[in-house]
Amino acid sequence: MNDTIVAISTALGVGAISIVRLSGKDAISIVNNCFNGKDLTKVKTHTINYGFIKDNDEVIDEVLVSIMRAPKTYTTEDIVEINCHGGIIATNRILETMLNNGARLAEPGEFTKRAFLNGRINLVESESVMDLIESKTNDARRLAISTIQGNITKLIREYRSTLKDLLSQIEVNIDYPEYYDIEVVTKDNIKNSIEVLKKDLDKLIKESNNVMPMKQGIKTVILGKPNVGKSSILNKLLNEDKAIVTNIAGTTRDIVEGEINLDGILMNIIDTAGIRSTNDVVESIGVEKSLSLIKDADLVIVVLNNNEKLSKDDKEILEKTKNKERIIVINKVDLDSKIDLPKDIENVVYTSTIKEEGINELKDKIKELFNIEKIKSKDYTYLSNTRQISLAKKALKEIKQAETALNKNMPVDIIEIDLNECFNTLGEIIGETYSEEIIDNLFKNFCVGK
C-alpha cells in the first residue's frame, strides 16, 4: 500500500457532479502538479480549494478540490477529492491526468480495503466491508474473463506472442550460452521487433482514442434560431429516455450537460445553456462561441423552421457546419412549408414536436450516421476504457525505454528488463500475467540439454 490510488468515486454519467478521489502518500502532490490555484501542499487539512485541473497547459475543468491529510481520513492516508462537472469526458480526462502523473488506478473496493487494513473501520463495520469487497472483486473477476472484447484480446495476444518469442530467445541465449546452433539475438532483431510493436501500439492507442467518444458519448451540439423548437426536440429525446439534464454554466471545455441514452449509445449534449436560458444559442453566446462549439462536436443538429424562409443566421450556420457530421431538422411540419432549403443538403429529417412526429426518424438518422450498429456488434478492435488505454500507454512507454536502452548500447539483459515490463503490462490489459510463460516457451522452442 505504498502507492497512490485514484478512481472516479461517483457513478459515471448519472450525477451533476463527479468526484475523482485519490488516496496515498503522493495524493496531494500529484493533484498539485496539475492544479491551477493555491499551492495544495501548503493548504490546511480538511479545506476545499477552488481552481482548475490542467493537462500540461490545457485546462480540463473548473473544480473544487478537498484536501484531507492523514490520519483523520477515510483510509487514514492523505486523501484528495476533486469535484468536477459530471460529464463523462471531463471526469475521465481528469482521471487520466492523475494516472499520467503517477497515481495507479484503484482496484474495485480498494479504498475501502485500505480503510479496513489501516484499521480505520471497526469490526462491526467490517462485515459489510467484506461483502462489498467480495461483490466487487467477484465483479472484477467476471469482468476480467468475460467483458473484454475478443478482438482486442486477440490483438494484444499477438503483440505478446511476438514479445514472448523474442524474450525466450534472449533467455535461451543467457541460460544456454554455449549452444552455438541457437541463433543469438542481435540488436537488429530486437530493434525490428521494437519498431513494429511501437508502431502497432501507437496506432491502437490513437484509434482507441478516436473510438472512445462514440463509446463514451457522441458530443452533440443543437443549433438554431429562437423559437424553432430546439428545446422541444431536446426534451423529446430526453423524456423518452429518462436521461438527466444538468445545467452548469461557467465551465471551460467540453462540458457535458445532458446525456441521452440512445439505445445504449450515449449522446453528450454540449452547452445547452443557450437552449435552456435564452432559448437562442446564436444570440446568447454569439456566433463566435457557437463556432468553437461546432469545432469540438462529433455531431451538429441544425434546427430550422419549416414555416419560414432561411435567414442570414440560418445560412451562416449551414455554411459553417457543412463539413461536420450534421443532421438538418426541419421542425414545425404541421405548419405551411415556406422554407427554401438548397437541394444538395443531405441528412434532412422532418419533425413536428407538437404532433410528436419525426423523432424516431431523427434517432434512426443519428444511429445511421455513427454506424452504431457496427460499433455495437464489436467489429472494431479498440481499447474500450481508460484503464486499458492507460495500460497501453504504459506499455508504449516501456517499449520506448527499451529502444532508448538499445540506442545507448546497453547489454541485452538490461534491454530485456524493459521488454519484460512491456510484456507484463500488455498481459495486464487482458488479464494474463503468468511468469512461467517465457520459461515454458523456452523449453518448447529450443533444443537444449545435457
Partner: protein, 626 residues
C-alpha cells in the same frame, strides 16, 4: 541422544549440510552408503553455469564449501555471458572428478564435531510427528535431535538402459529400498522422477583432429571470494566440440522404440531442460545436427574410473548398449572410441516439495529436513545450496533460533527454495536466470555484499574473512564518493583524452561518476583523474552499480513492493475453509501450500490478486479480534 544432527547421504547436499551443522558446533553424523562416493560427481564434470555459478558464489558468501572445493578441482574456467549484461554473467568450471571428492572428503574428515559412518538408512525414528533419529539397514537405531535427508537419487533407484531395469544407484551402488515407503507412511507424497547421463569414452581412442577446441578464459577466476587460485591460467585443459550427423539420427530413429523412454519402460518424469538425444531428435526433427562437448573427467590418470574418461555432454540416452555402440561410433572422431561407461536413465523417488517449509524443515515431521534431489531438484549446485540452508536451519532449530530464509531479491538460493515450496515441481527443477525476477540484484559480483552479513551472523564466516569483506565495502564507498566529488571540465587536455576514448565531448563540467555512466567509458579510463589503486572486485562493483544505477533502482523498488507483502505473516493455524469467497482453485492451492506470508501466497499459480485481497481482509479481521 547419540548426536545433535544426522545427515543421511554424502552427496553435494549432504556434505554442505554436515559441514554447516558441525561448524555450528553440533555433534554431527554423516551416514553414507559408500565413503568413497562422498561428493561424487555422477554426471557432468563441471560446476557452475548461468544461475548455478552464482549459487556457488552465494554458498561461499554464506560460509559453505562448494566454491572453495571447486576452486581446488578446477581444470578450466570461463566467465559466461560477458557480453550480455552484468546480471547474467556466471562462472563455469570443468572440475576434476578425482580431486573434487577427495578434497571434500579431506575437509569433512578434518572438521571437528563431524563423524562419518557407512550404512544405509531404511527408516526414521518418529515420536508424535517429531524426529528422534534413524534406523539403519541392520536394524540399529541412532538417535538425534534433527535429521537431514539428502538421499539424492538413491531412494528406490533404478538404472534403465533399453528394456533393462536394474535396481541401484549411479555406480551400481545399493539403493535404499524401504525409506521412501516409510516416508509415504508418515504422510509424504512420493513422486517418481527420472534423469539421465551420457556415455563416457576412453580419451586415447578419440581422434581429436576431427573436433574443434574449446579453451578456458585467459583471465583468472575463482568461485570463492577468498580468491585462492589452484590452476594455471595459461595451462588449462580444453574441451572439444563435435556435432551429431545424419547417420547418428538415423540410428536413433531406427531404434527409437528400444530406448527406455520411447519403449514405455520409464515411469518417472524427466526434466524438460535436459532432454535425451532421442528426445532432441524427435522433438526437433528439423535440426540436422546437435552439438556435443567432449569434456575431460579427470587429469589424474591413475584414477580407475575417471582417469582416461571423456564425458560426451549432450548425448544422454537410455538406449540399449549395442545401439549406444552404433550411436557413439557414428560421431566424428569417435569412430573407434571405446565406451568406458554406457549412458543410462535413472529413476528415483522424491518427496513433494510443497510439504516443506521455507526453512527446508518438512511440514510432516518436526525437525526433519530435506535437501537436494529428494526435493525434486537436479544439479550439484542446487543440491549444495539447499544442503547448506538445511544444515544451517537444522542447527538453528535445535538451538531455538529463527530459521534463515533468503528472499527472492537476496539470493538465487532464495528463489530456488521459494519456487520449491510455493510452486512445487512436476519435473526435476533446474535454476535458470529467468526464474529470478530481480536478477539484476542477484549478480555474480555482489554475492558477498548480499550474503556475507548473514554468513557472519550465523557463525559460518569467521571474523578474519568478515573484516576483509568489510574493508572491501569501505573501499567501495570511499571510491564511489570520490568519483562523485571529482569533476572534470571541458578543458583542452580533457577534451583530447575523451576524444581518444571515443566518447562525445563535454559541454560543461561533470563528475567522474557521471562520466562513468557513459556506456563506452570503462572505470580504468578514469585513472588519469583519480587514484584507482583498489582491488579488481572494488572497481568492478562500482562500475556495475554506476552504469546500471537506474535499472538497479527500478529492480530494488520492485523488490520492495514484493517485500511489503512478504512482511505480512499468515498464521499457521489459518483455516482456509473459513475464508469465505475465495475462488475454489485458490482455496485448494492455499491449503496445499500453506504459505507463511501473503507474499508467498501471491506467487502461487491459481491464486489471483482478488483472492489475496480477500485473504488480507480476513486476516485483519480475524487476528485483530484477539
Amino acid at each position: 541422544m547419540d548426536y545433535d544432527i544426522i545427515v543421511v547421504g554424502g552427496g553435494h547436499a549432504g556434505c554442505e549440510a554436515a559441514l554447516a551443522s558441525a561448524r555450528l558446533n553440533n555433534k554431527t553424523l554423516l551416514i553414507t552408503g559408500n565413503i568413497n562416493n562422498i561428493a561424487d560427481m555422477p554426471c557432468n564434470p563441471s560446476i557452475g553455469g548461468p544461475a548455478k555459478g552464482i549459487v556457488v558464489r552465494e554458498i561461499d558468501a554464506l560460509g559453505g564449501e562448494m566454491a572453495k572445493n571447486a576452486d581446488k578441482a578446477c581444470i578450466q574456467i570461463k566467465m559466461l555471458n560477458t557480453k550480455k549484461g552484468p546480471a547474467v554473467q556466471a562462472l563455469r568450471a570443468q572440475a576434476d572428478k578425482n580431486i573434487y571428492p577427495k578434497e571434500m572428503l579431506k575437509t569433512l574428515k578434518d572438521t571437528e564435531n563431524l563423524e562419518i559412518k557407512e550404512s544405509l538408512v531404511e527408516d526414521l525414528i518418529v515420536n508424535d510427528n517429531k524426529i528422534g533419529g534413524v534406523v539403519l539397514e541392520d536394524g540399529n537405531k541412532i538417535t538425534s535431535k534433527a535429521v537431514i535427508l539428502t538421499t539424492g537419487t538413491y531412494l528406490k533407484a533404478d538404472i534403465l538402459t533399453g528394456s533393462n531395469r536394474t535396481p541401484g544407484g549411479p555406480h551400481g551402488e545399493r539403493r535404499s529400498n524401504s525409506l521412501s515407503d516409510k516416508l509415504k507412511e508418515y504422510g509424504f507424497t512420493i513422486l517418481r522422477l527420472k534423469t539421465g547421463t551420457p556415455q563416457r569414452v576412453d580419451k586415447n581412442t578419440i581422434d581429436f583432429t576431427k573436433t574443434s577446441v574449446e579453451e578456458g578464459d585467459k583471465e583468472e577466476y575463482t568461485f570463492s571470494f577468498s580468491n585462492k587460485v589452484y590452476y594455471d591460467v595459461n595451462n588449462q585443459t580444453p574441451c572439444h566440440l563435435i556435432y551429431t550427423n545424419e547417420k547418428t539420427h538415423e540410428i536413433i530413429k531406427e531404434h527409437l522404440n528400444e530406448s527406455s523412454m520411447y519403449g514405455g519402460y520409464v515411469t518417472g518424469v524427466g526434466p524438460r531442460y535436459c532432454p535425451s538425444i532421442e528426445d532432441k531428435v524427435v522433438r526437433f526433427s528439423d535440426k540436422e545436427r546437435h552439438q556435443l562437448f567432449l569434456e575431460p573427467e579427470s587429469l589424474v590418470e591413475d584414477d580407475p574410473e575417471y582417469g582416461n574418461s571423456i564425458y560426451i555432454q549432450g548425448f544422454s540416452t537410455s538406449m540399449p548398449y549395442e545401439v549406444q555402440e552404433e550411436m557413439v561410433h557414428s560421431l566424428p572422431g569417435l569412430e573407434n572410441a571405446k565406451i568406458l561407461k554406457y549412458a543410462y536413465a535413472i529413476e528415483y523417488d522424491a518427496i513433494d516439495s510443497l510439504q516443506l517449509n521455507q526453512s527446508l524443515e518438512t511440514k510432516v515431521i518436526e525437525n526433519l529436513f530435506t535437501a537436494g534431489q529428494i526435493n525434486g531438484t537436479s544439479g550439484y549446485e542446487e543440491a549444495a545450496g539447499q544442503g547448506l540452508i538445511a544444515g544451517i536451519n537444522a542447527s538453528r532449530k535445535i538451538n531455538n533460533q529463527e530459521p534463515l530464509v533468503l528472499k527472492r531479491n537476496e539470493a538465487y538460493i532464495g528463489v530456488l527454495i521459494d519456487d520449491l515450496v510455493t510452486k512445487g515441481i512436476k519435473d526435476p527443477y533446474r535454476l535458470l536466470t529467468s526464474r529470478a525476477e530481480y536478477r539484476l540484484l542477484l549478480r555474480n559480483d555482489n554475492a558477498d555484499i548480499r550474503l556475507k552479513d548473514y554468513g557472519h551472523e550465523i557463525g559460518l564466516i569467521n571474523d578474519e574473512d568478515y573484516s576483509k569483506y568489510k574493508e572491501k565495502i569501505n573501499n567501495i564507498e570511499k571510491l564511489t564518493n570520490e568519483l562523485k566529488e571529482v569533476r572534470i571540465t571541458p578543458k583542452k587536455d580533457v577534451l583530447e583524452y575523451l576524444d581518444k576514448l571515443g566518447t562525445t565531448p563535454l559541454k560543461e563540467g561533470i563528475s567522474l561518476y557521471e562520466l562513468l555512466k557513459r556506456p563506452e567509458i570503462k572505470i580504468k579510463d578514469l585513472k588519469e583523474y583519480i587514484n584507482l589503486d583498489y582491488d579488481k572486485e572494488v572497481l568492478e562493483e562500482i562500475e556495475i552499480e554506476c552504469k546500471y544505477e537506474g535499472y538497479i533502482k527500478k529492480a530494488t523498488k520492485e523488490a520492495e513492493k514484493m517485500l511489503s507483502l512478504e512482511e505480512k505473516q499468515i498464521p499457521k493455524d489459518i483455516d482456509y475453509n473459513k475464508v469465505s469467497n475465495l475462488a475454489s482453485e485458490a482455496r485448494e492451492k492455499l491449503i496445499k501450500v500453506m504459505p507463511t506470508t501473503l507474499g508467498q501466497a501471491s506467487r502461487i499459480s491459481g491464486v489471483n490478486p482478488a483472492d489475496i485481497s480477500i485473504l488480507m481482509v480476513y486476516l485483519r479481521r480475524k487476528y485483530n479480534e484477539q
